[in-house]
Amino acid sequence: MKLRRLTKRNHQNSTNNDPCAADLQATLGDQRVHTDSAARHLASTDASIFTGGAAGIVCYPSTTEQVQAIMAVAIKHDRAVLPRGAGSGLSGGAAPLGNPIVVSTTRMNRVLEVDLEDRLAWVQPGVINLDLSKQTSPFGFHFAPDPSSQQVCTIGGNVANNSGGPHCLAYGVTSSHILALEVVLSSGEIVELGGLDSEPTGYDLRGAFVGSEGMFGITTKIAVRLTPNPESVKTLMLSFDTVTDAAATVSAVIASGLVPAAIEMLDRNCVAAVESFVHAGFPTDAAAVLIIEVDGLSAGVSADATKVAEVAQTHGATVRVAANEDERALWWKGRKSAFGAIARVAPDYYLHDTVVPRSKLVEVLEAVYEIAQRYDLTMLNVFHAGDGNLHPLMAYNSRQAGANERVAAASREILELSLAVGGVLSGEHGIGVEKRDFMTDQFTSADLAQQALLRTAFDPFCRLNPGKVLPAAHSCADIATLSAAHADGVWG
């Protein structure tokens, strides 16, 4: 197995004199349709290590009608279509296969309506996650999903991936915060899924659509639920002499009947990287650090924070409580900058994403370190411990002989280990092309057949983001353009 580097080969297909491009330009104007190699190159990857993507024409619509017009041209020319947000995904989900028309939502970036009485906002899909909360926070509300990439990722991308984030432990992932979606289907029809009323009629097509990785339709408007800002917040930093004690504390806190807003863990290697990068005040002598945040109303928050501290101290923790909002913000900056800090450790990194039962955290973390040692890899762990969402991060130098192969082999072992203890393939990054071929390790043929039916209901033509999520044997006959694509996945 080896990591693929296929960029040049897949960009050989030219869009010069492409009648599809001409039709798109005639429909949308030259400014919204880019066929140059620079635009196509930028749209050929996401933030994953997958570099086998190949974008066709890149379009920049700003309205639903323009998206619908793009779909009409795609239908006429029998082209695949890939919706794209910020390209911050980590599973290759936005990496195009087979030169599809790429529909970038970056110009669909308006907050259309904020309704504080019904606690919702209508936004276009290209609105940046954090920008919405910045706009609504002065009025006492925010958009709860807070992935680490929230400064750049789009809400449309959050919908496509059913994104999580540290505070999803208490508030739930994106699906819990989406009320309604306006979607352009692969047929060109516009549908509104879900609704603003309490119990919309019909199947929960809104819920089915969230997390469909751009394969069910193109989102053009999103009604998100706004969450009241907590009246009170307490953030605790707990440092431990062993990772085992930290992991045991996570289980003990949950078992004590508390549901904190967030429980995040950083191990020694990660703390060292973060501290030299952000200087957040993390204890570099600790084997592991937990950041636990409780929020809500003042009396309950005080009681919960006290209880968390008591539980942690029984596991040998040194406890600090953020003295003020500035210190709290700095700690979170440290946590969310962890992946950027890795650049100081090695030139390349591969970030894993699996989920294991919380009660298996100790066992799995010990095994993860053993795997890293066996493959001679630098392993850092920074993850959402409260819901068992592991992010083992392997820092390496891809130019070193055999490094890619060692990373791939270690990654496979971690994946299989996670599944073997009762976990799942992905907690928040999605399947994309990265884990598509591992789906048969988690699901049976019957399971995958039912998932394929759901896709077929939305996109009977398999026009949207073909080649992702479902292994080839369970995917409908993707349209002709994909057959030319190299779609071996990240691991080749």
Partner: protein, 323 residues
């Protein structure tokens, strides 16, 4: 390797093979040919149309399969009464967000599978969220008789397309639910129901930070406050004069509205109890505006049912459009 005797590969193989004889027997009972009506607790069988009386009636298996209090998950078979499940969970200070069938309607026999198939949340939705968010994994028998696993056993999961969401609230028309893994939550430390006569429901919503439920019948507001005692008391001090009282009995039909439209409910509703901040209105009659879908969405709904159950085996006569 996770145990001395089994390799990772052994465990992976075992995971992909459903060996539970109860599930296999249920799948055989469902079979792959004739029409079937799934029977739960019959507490909501008046919703979603009338099932074909000629179809074969079938009950799912019942019983708690595996409860992990420190994981805050429980695997339970579909015909288990919710009240029985909650009684077991309460021994560890937990419950689920499923309505337990004993709360407001006087019914005592709602089943886990039935509640999930209907997909209607309890009146405590302000705090407990939607029923669909409590469902982590769901195993069901498909129209061709195959046992299918949707979702996964962990509290967080985005592996593949979300079949759980399409099953919750599907009225059993897409598959026969066999068992389900639910997220559990701690039982409220403190809770109290208050009654406020002639109170402004909007003001109660804005002031009651600990409210799990706010009900209004046009005159009286009831609120359930939950959480830390001091927070509840602070809330109560902000609210109009109140007295302790049980919530009202709910009429049998539900109207779905935007939350802010509740304050304009007129006489057309008859006797009603509205869930303030949520948008559900409990009425004596079915919703005159219910079941309306745009042509495109209706076609998409139909396509889903056609693909999952092409021969209309499951709950013939009933339909999500009629819920």
């Amino acid at each position: 390797m996770t145990t001395p005797d089994l390799t990772t590969q052994d465990l992976l193989r075992a995971r992909r093979t459903i060996q539970d004889p109860v599930l296999l027997e249920f799948a055989a009972e469902v079979g792959s040919s004739d029409p079937i009506v799934m029977v739960g607790g019959n507490t909501q069988s008046h919703l979603g149309g009338v099932a074909d009386p000629n179809a074969r009636s079938l009950r799912a298996p019942s019983g708690i399969v595996k409860y992990q209090p420190d994981e805050m998950t429980v695997c339970v078979r579909a015909a288990t009464p919710v009240s029985e499940l909650h009684a077991a969970l309460s021994e560890h200070g937990q419950r689920t967000s499923l309505p337990d069938g004993t709360n407001l309607q006087g019914a005592v026999s709602s089943t886990v599978g039935g509640v999930i198939a209907v997909g209607r949340s309890p009146v405590t939705r302000l705090k407990d969220g939607h029923v669909r968010d409590a469902v982590l994994q769901l195993r069901y028998v498909a129209a061709d008789g195959a046992l299918v696993t949707a979702g996964g056993p962990t509290v967080k999961n985005v592996s593949g397309f979300d079949l759980c969401r399409i099953m919750v609230g599907s009225l059993g028309t897409l598959g026969c639910i066999a068992d389900v893994i639910l997220r559990t939550r701690p039982i409220n430390r403190h809770e109290r129901w208050l009654k406020m006569v002639d109170a402004d429901p909007k003001a109660v919503l804005n002031n009651a930070k600990t409210a799990a439920a706010i009900l209004w019948d046009g005159t009286v507001v009831w609120a359930q406050l939950v959480g830390h005692q001091a927070d509840i008391e602070s809330d109560q001090a902000r609210l109009p004069t109140s007295s302790s009282a049980l919530p009202p009995k709910l009429p049998p039909f539900r109207w779905s509205r935007r939350p802010k439209d509740l304050y304009q409910i007129g006489s057309e509703a008859g006797r009603f109890v509205a869930e303030i901040g949520v948008g559900v209105v409990h009425c004596e009659q079915p919703d005159p505006q219910g079941g309306k879908l745009s042509a495109n969405v209706e076609a998409l709904n139909r396509r889903v049912r056609d693909l999952f159950d092409p021969h209309r085996r499951f709950n013939p006569g009933r339909s999500v459009e009629l819920l």
